[in-house]
Symmetry: C2
Subunit: 238 residues, 2 copies
């Protein structure tokens, strides 16, 4: 008798590389601004500040990031940025909407194995367009019974999903790379959480204290350990 | 015994003004470009062309529209647009994310009345961030049992919603202002559709032939006629 009704996985940097593409875009951005004698660190600092302040209005995702790069370029060049460089920044953003999806190692095997004994859900935040496009391009959608794309991963957003699917929090496991988005809100609700750190974490996502020790919290270094952790959770929660 | 299980309504320009704010933003955009001696019609034509070609990569919504205004400004000024004007365009977009929601006349009374005898769903396309924010700001969310925000209103997207909620198409009514998004795909699936034209329609949405006469198709000039039409549909489909 399984004690876990639903296993949900984050997508970006849990199933496939995402931050890598943002870093690549940032590098391109820094290179463009070097022509205006803007130091790399200044460009990145201003971009990071603008990105955070734009989250409320422009949210997560490629389009908001692109608008933030444009604002940062105007600011750090004192308005001197050329139209052709603004166009290049828009083109960087457009390129991000179509890049190949690079799965992290072990992802497909793990999903295949997990999906045999459990109902899987993908929970990703960001705008529906970016996220749905990545899900489609990934070829992984067949492993998921449900795909939830939400604007932000708040405790309320998780509570709504559990309520809608009639799943008690203590029979729910969330798996992801972001403490802020995937781990803390789920532990707060009384669910189980498995942290799979990614090699790079966006500064905004990392800026949270990991919860104090909780028996419902696990950390693994690689997604191929997930099946073992799930078995472990099912033992504990019996 | 009701013969209709679900009434779904579009949001933008069906429940509240949206196109109005896009037109306002366009006017502001045209005014900015007048300083570069760009004729109004040129500015609008280029913007429209870029908007359409950006739909695949940047989708519907304020952020995609803002990026399109930026690209159009670069193009029509031959790259001469100043950084301060690029910043003004970003600010136009940001302002659109927080404007007040102006309900169309009769909307609240109609929702209140309809929701007494029927389950209502809001189906809106666009990015989750913009749309959820507008739903929240509108104060109307309490009338809806479900809120579906989808990237595009294709026949498949409607079919998925009906399947998920286990509703036969012939017991489903869709109400909205856009023939392309709200009417044609629903009639194609075998559902009922009620067209409530808005005073202005985005050229892209209008560019579709209305279906040939169908007994499942109705047009009303004002949303306060909707309750009568629904009664009518329930009579016909008995």
């Amino acid at each position: 008798m399984p004690t876990i009704d639903l296993i949900a996985l984050d997508a970006d940097d849990t199933l496939w590389h995402t931050e890598y593409y943002y870093r690549q875009a940032q590098n391109h951005f820094v290179t463009l601004l070097a022509a205006y004698h803007v130091p790399e660190q200044t460009a990145l600092d201003v971009l990071h500040r603008i990105e955070i302040s734009n989250l409320t209005s422009f949210g997560y995702g490629i389009r908001g990031f692109t608008l933030s790069m444009i604002e940062a370029a105007v600011e750090v060049t004192g308005g001197q940025v050329r139209g052709s460089d603004i166009q290049s920044i828009v083109d960087i953003g457009r390129g991000m909407t179509t890049h190949e999806i690079r799965l992290l190692p072990g992802v497909e095997e793990t999903l295949e194995s997990l999906s045999k004994g459990h109902r899987l859900m993908l929970i990703t935040k960001g705008d529906a367009l970016d996220q749905q496009s990545k899900v489609d391009r990934s070829g992984m959608s067949g492993y998921f019974r449900w795909i939830e794309i939400i604007p932000d991963k708040t405790p309320q957003a998780y509570a709504d999903i559990l309520k809608r699917h009639d799943i008690p929090a203590d029979r729910f496991v969330m798996v992801g790379n972001s403490p802020r988005s995937d781990i803390v809100p789920v532990l707060d609700l009384g669910g189980w959480a498995v942290h799979v750190p990614y090699e790079m974490t966006w500064a905004h996502e990392a800026a949270v204290e990991l919860p104090e020790y909780s028996r419902r919290y696990f950390e693994i270094s690689h997604i191929d350990q997930l099946c073992d952790v799930i078995r472990n959770i099912e033992q504990i929660s019996l």
